[in-house]
């Protein structure tokens, strides 16, 4: 039986968890170790941690914190943020992380993708693509945590990443991030149609309603979300939640 992955994405800065809106205004969510513990107890499919400060600060990933986090996780864990070379990838994988998520570094040096895929296997390399639409609605790839715009078209870049050996593509809408108004459907569709490696939709999900649409109508392999797993109710109170197996099966299958 087939099951699509529902992946909470948590943003890490120094040693705290945060959540953003449109990649801005980070709001403190709490201690990452306890959060992972709770997600683990909830038996989530997979978790992704992105260090949002790393590339900007030109920092190396905090391996000690990552090790603490990884040892709490009995499901697949992806980590990204400021990953620049194969040495870093090796260190991160050794600490107990399944997959590394590369964003800026892959755009600046695409060979990194093929080098790391060769060394560690495609399935450990996830290329994350952050997309913002310009005034005319044209989607453009952004790097450095959304701060820098490139001329790249996300579909072309996703196809190229696949060609170079990426195992998975995480397609993230900056405009929709944290807004809880649904994914950028056109974006998801265009990328999903263009590649034949797993595509993970991200940015804007409200919950099961959007997961169901992404999976059923747009045939993505997996869906990712942040806000809907950490905020509850009209005051956006911080509370970790995850749909039950029953809720997911009813909505998705």
């Amino acid at each position: 039986m087939f099951r699509h992955r529902i992946i909470p994405v948590l943003l890490l800065d120094k040693s705290g968890l945060y959540k953003t809106q449109r990649f801005l205004n980070p709001r403190y969510i709490g201690d990452p170790i306890n959060a992972i513990r709770i997600f683990n107890d909830k038996e989530v499919d997979e978790l992704a941690f992105l260090d949002i400060g790393a590339t900007i600060d030109n920092r190396n990933p905090n391996l000690a914190v990552l090790k603490d986090i990884a040892s709490e996780c009995f499901m697949p864990l992806s980590f990204g943020g400021g990953i620049r070379n194969v040495e870093m990838i090796r260190e991160i994988l050794n600490v107990g992380v399944e997959k590394v998520v590369i964003n800026t570094a892959a755009v600046e040096r695409p060979r990194l993708i093929s080098e790391s895929a060769q060394l560690f296997g495609s399935s450990t390399i996830v290329i994350s693509i952050d997309v913002k639409r310009n005034h005319f609605g044209k989607p453009l790839v952004h790097i450095r945590g959304g701060r820098e715009r490139t001329r790249l078209n996300p579909v072309d870049w996703a196809v190229e990443a696949e060609r170079l050996g990426a195992g998975e593509v995480l397609i993230n809408s900056i405009d929709q991030d944290g807004m809880m108004q649904g994914y950028d459907w056109m974006l998801i569709k265009s990328v999903s149609d263009a590649v034949s490696i797993p595509v993970v939709a991200a940015g804007g999900a409200r919950g099961i309603i959007d997961f169901a649409r992404a999976i059923k109508d747009y045939e993505v392999s997996a869906v990712a979300a942040g806000s809907c797993f950490v905020f509850q109710g009209k005051h956006r109170a911080v509370l970790i939640t995850y749909p039950t197996r029953m809720e997911l099966e009813t909505a998705l299958y």
Binding site: D31, G233, T241
Partner: protein
């Protein structure tokens, strides 16, 4: 009042140091025993806690008529204060049995409109989180969470751990209270409802605990053992505690579980059935920290098993027999595998090494009175007050 405090403090210290080996004795009615160094027994072997409870029943506990009246009064006060506003009261919800049942009772039975507040100190158990979710979603209540800065809490918890005091849960407990009051102030809600109840909490020896609202002690422990600034920690100072909140903001607290026939097991069964509530085992085990604290730290380093207090409370309120309590006490506090896991987690979270942990656990036990605390302040005030009063009298003459 001071005299009694002095007496207790001296007596506890004396008992702990000069008479370390008190012959073991257990209460004939409850399961409280001489691990409470201040315990006394009457001729029938019944301990002072039982006598205090019976005194409460006779003199303080409201009879059903009066209880009903107090409840009605509370409801009408709250409705009045809440008129035209979004909420008429504020409730702290931890996901534990008391606060969960209270939330249900206040919103469904009494029809009030609470703002539900949860304070996240970084140790939430998944079951507690799930309980909170189910309660606010099923009862359609508004939730507000206060997430404490974990680095600050961690630093303070490590400081307390290093101090070798019994009450290393104070950083959490103090924050729970101060944040709730702060939220009340923020949302301009005057009425705070808490789940305090004599039905399950009547017995708790003062020797096993210390006042979590004492900010002076917190500051002194932090000064001595802490390393990060305390600015982001929600400290409630004596001025706020005694004057600002109660007298200027006129915040009122109510404990309605006191006025109903609150039975813990029935409350649990009800919530499991109707609200998808899950039981997490022992009292206050909704926090991973508290579980380790009560089931290992206290018994191992101080010799207190808080279960004795919790179970004794249930015995005196007729919810459990002494035999049942004795049987339960025979069960280990921890299975070895659970203990190892929780201890590893405790060590990991606090960012200390196994070695540091062991050496701190082996440090000699210390008492709250060894560090500056609010009692000192009160004593100093009294000392000043006496000559001051004399002066006034002289002037009057």
């Amino acid at each position: 009042m001071i005299d009694i405090l002095d007496f207790n403090k001296d007596r506890n210290d004396v008992l702990r140091r000069i008479l370390p080996k008190i012959p073991y004795q257990i209460c004939t009615r409850t399961v409280m025993d001489t691990t409470d160094p201040a315990i006394t027994f009457n001729d029938e072997g019944v301990c002072n806690h039982v006598l205090d409870y019976e005194d409460y029943l006779k003199n303080s506990k409201p009879d059903p008529e009066r209880a009903k009246h107090l409840m009605k009064q509370m409801v009408s006060n709250l409705r009045k204060d809440g008129k035209g506003k979004d909420y008429d009261c504020i409730i702290g919800l931890s996901g534990g049995v008391d606060s969960s049942y209270l939330t249900w009772y206040v919103s469904q039975k009494l029809g009030l409109r609470p703002l539900v507040v949860h304070v996240d100190a970084g140790w939430n158990n998944e079951i507690a989180v799930s309980n909170i979710q189910n309660i606010v979603q099923k009862l359609k209540l508004d939730l507000h969470t206060v997430v404490l800065d974990w680095e600050v809490v961690k630093d303070l918890q490590v400081a307390y751990f290093k101090s070798s005091l019994a009450n290393i849960d104070i950083p959490q407990d103090h924050a729970f209270i101060s944040c709730l009051y702060n939220e009340a102030r923020k949302y301009k809600i005057r009425n705070i409802i808490n789940g305090n109840n004599m039905s399950t909490e009547s017995i708790l020896p003062s020797t096993w605990g210390y006042d979590a609202s004492d900010s002076i002690q917190i500051k002194s422990i932090h000064k001595k053992f802490g390393s990060k600034p305390l600015t982001d920690y929600p400290l409630m100072n004596p001025y706020q505690r005694f004057i600002f909140y109660p007298r200027i903001l006129k915040l009122r607290t109510y404990s309605p579980l006191e006025w109903i026939d609150y039975r813990k097991q029935e409350a649990k069964d009800f919530m499991i059935r109707e609200l998808g509530w899950k039981d997490y085992g022992g009292k206050h085990y909704e926090s991973k920290f508290t579980r380790f604290f009560q089931a290992h730290y206290l018994p191992e380093k101080f010799g207190y098993d808080k279960r004795k207090a919790h179970l004794s409370s249930l015995i005196v309120s007729g919810q459990m027999t002494r035999e049942e309590a004795l049987l339960e006490l025979k069960l280990p506090l921890y299975l070895e595998s659970e203990l190892n896991e929780d201890r590893d987690y405790f060590i990991k979270k606090l960012g200390i090494t196994h070695k540091e942990y062991e050496s701190i656990m082996h440090l000699p036990v210390r008492s709250y009175s060894e560090f500056p605390n609010s009692e000192d302040l009160i004593n100093k005030a009294r000392k000043l007050y006496r000559p001051f009063k004399l002066l006034i009298n002289l002037i009057k003459k």
